[in-house]
Symmetry: C2
Subunit: 381 residues, 2 copies
Amino acid sequence: MDVTTEAPSKAGLEDVVAASSSICYLDGARGVLAYRGYDIHDLADHATFEEVCFLLWHARLPTRAELGDLHSQLADARALPEGVLRLMRSLPPAPAMDALRTLVSALSHYDPGANDMSPEGRQRTSVRLTAQLGSIVSTYGRMAAGGGQIAPDPALGQAANFLYMLTGQRPSALAARALDIALILHADHEFNASTFVARVSAATLTDVHSAIVGGIGALKGPLHGGANADVMHLLLELGQDVTDQKIESVVRGKLARKEKIPGFGHRVYRTEDPRATHLRAMSEELGRSTGNLRWFQISQRIEQIVKGEKKLNANVDFYSATTYYALGIPVDLFTPVFAVSRISGWTAHVLEQYANNRLIRPRADYIGPSYPQAYVPLDRR
Amino acid sequence: MDVTTEAPSKAGLEDVVAASSSICYLDGARGVLAYRGYDIHDLADHATFEEVCFLLWHARLPTRAELGDLHSQLADARALPEGVLRLMRSLPPAPAMDALRTLVSALSHYDPGANDMSPEGRQRTSVRLTAQLGSIVSTYGRMAAGGGQIAPDPALGQAANFLYMLTGQRPSALAARALDIALILHADHEFNASTFVARVSAATLTDVHSAIVGGIGALKGPLHGGANADVMHLLLELGQDVTDQKIESVVRGKLARKEKIPGFGHRVYRTEDPRATHLRAMSEELGRSTGNLRWFQISQRIEQIVKGEKKLNANVDFYSATTYYALGIPVDLFTPVFAVSRISGWTAHVLEQYANNRLIRPRADYIGPSYPQAYVPLDRR
C-alpha cells in the first residue's frame, strides 16, 4: 500500500462517506427516511409515485401543471420499441432480472437520445427509462405466463398501468394505490449497493443506460433486491396450511444452522426500517380485502421469532413479498418490481453525480504475495 | 448524517481503502504495478495473456499442463451461441461498447451455468466469459465492417485468434505478440472504476454476468476505458500531415480552455504509468515495422507539450491508441479491446469478492433540504 493511502476502512465501506448527496436523508439510529427532506410516511400517505419521481429529480414537489407534463412524458414513453419486444420473445427462459438487464441494455440501441449526454438529454433518458422499465417488467411477466402483449393505457399512472399491462385487467383502486405506495417506498435509499454501482459508473461519465444496467445487475443479488423473492419462496415452502409449531421449528432450525432468513436486518437501520412499518400495514390490509390473511399471519410469526431470537428487524423486503403476492404479481417479478420503482432513485443519483462529478476510484489494501516475485519460465515450473 | 458515520472522505474515495485484495499490487509513488506480486514488466516481457489469466485467477503461474488445459477451455468456449449472433446482426448501429454490454448480458440466457453460483460454477463462467468477450468484439467489428463471420481457430491464443476473427487473416507473429502484450498490460489495475463496480455488484451475491455487464458499462466512460478511443480521435482530427506548429497550437489551445487531453494523468500514479512505458515502445516498434511512424511521432509531440505544461504523464490509454491503430483495429473497438483484456481482472476480483464477501454499502454526506419538510398538497402548491 502507498504511504499516501489511508488506513483500511471498515469492511464493506460500512459508515464510510463516499460522496455528498442532497437526495436522501437517512438516519439509521432514529429510523428516519426522507426524500429531499420529505418524510417517507408523509409521501406514502399523500403523494403519488410520479410526484416522488419529480421530487427526486428536481428537489421539490411539482405543481399541478408540472405533474401533468410528467404524466404525459411517461405515458408517451411507455410503448416499447418493436426490436426490444422481438428480443423479449426470443430470449430463452432465464431469471426475470437477467431479462430485465438484457432488455434495458437493448433499449439504448433503439433510443436516438441514449448517448445524448447534455443535461437535458440525460434528464429525458431518465424519464424514458422510468416509463420503459414498467413496460418491460409487466410485458415480460405477461408473456412468461403465456398472455398476449397489452398496450399501455395513457390514462393510468405508473402503478395502475403496470398492473393493467401485467394482468390485462384494470386494477381496483385499492390494488393500484397499494402498488403506488410500494413504488414510493422503494424509490430511493441513499447509497445502497445498486445505486452506488450506478453512481460509480456514472462517475466515469458513461451514459445513463450503462449506469442503470449496472444497477439492475447489482439489485438482483440476494443480499439486495433479490431478498423479496427469497422471502416469498420461504413462505411458499412453508405453505398456507403450516402450523405455528412447524414455522417455529423451520425458522429456529435455520437460525441454528446460521442460515440467513431473507428480509431481516439492514446495514444502516438500528431500529425498524420505516418502510417495513408501512408495508406491514399494507400487507395486512390487502390480505383482509382479498379475504386471505394467512400469508400475513405466517410472516408475522416469522418476524416474532427472528426478532426474539436475533434482535433483527424486518426490512423493506420482508412485507413487500406478501404485498406483491396479494396483488397477483408472480414471485419471479418481485425483484424486477423493485427496479420499476428504484429506477427513479438510480436516475436521480446518476444525474446528481454527473452534475458535480469526480471519478470514484478507491484503493485496495494489498495482502497478496510480496513484491517482486521472480518470474520462472514455463519449462522450469 | 448519523452520529455513527465517519467524517466525509476525500471526494471520489481518493486514497480510501475499500477492501483487502491479494490480486494487484500498485505503488503509485514508485510507478510499480504487479499482478500477484509479479512485476508487470516481467509479465509483458515473458508471459502470455493466458498465463496472466491463470495467475490472476489462481494466484500462481500455471504449469505447462495447466496452461494447456486453460487453452483448451478458452478455445472450446469461443464459439458464440447462435441466439447471440442473431441478436448481434439485428441490433441497430450503436457505439460498440453498448453492443458489448447488451451481448454479454444476452450470453447469460444461453449459458446453462450462468446462475451456477458454486465456486466451480463461478470459475467456469469466468473462463467462458474471457473467451467469449474476444469473440463478441472481433465478430462485431468484422460485421460492422461488412465482413462475414469467421469461426474461431482453436490453434491460436486469445490475442492471435482475436485478430484472425476480426480480419480473416492469420496475424503476423509481431502483431499477435503486440496485442498479447497489450492484453497483459490491461488485464488488471486494482480498484479502478469498472472493477470496483463489478466488486460492489458481486458483493450483493449477484451472478458473474451481472457483475461483468456492470463493469463494461463503467469502462465505456471517457474518464475510464473510453479514453483510448478519444486519444485516437484527437490524432485523426490533427491528421497525419499536421505540422509541429499546428499540434502545438491545438494542444495549447485545449489546455488554455481547460479541456481535457485524453490519455494523460492518473488517480494513483505520481510518476509514469509503467504500462505507458511499455506501450510507447510498442507503438514505436509497430510504427517502424509498418513503415508509418507518423502517429507515434505526433503522439510524442503531444506528450512533450502536456508534460511540459501540465506535468501530466501519459497513461495506459495514450499509447494503446496508436498501438491498436497500427494493428488495424477500428477506433470504435479500442475500448471493447480493453474489455477483452480486463475481463480477466474483473473476474479475478469478482471471484475474490465472493470468496470472502461483505456487502459494500457506503453512506452519503447529506447536504439536501433540512428534515422534515412540510408536505403541501398538490392544489396548494
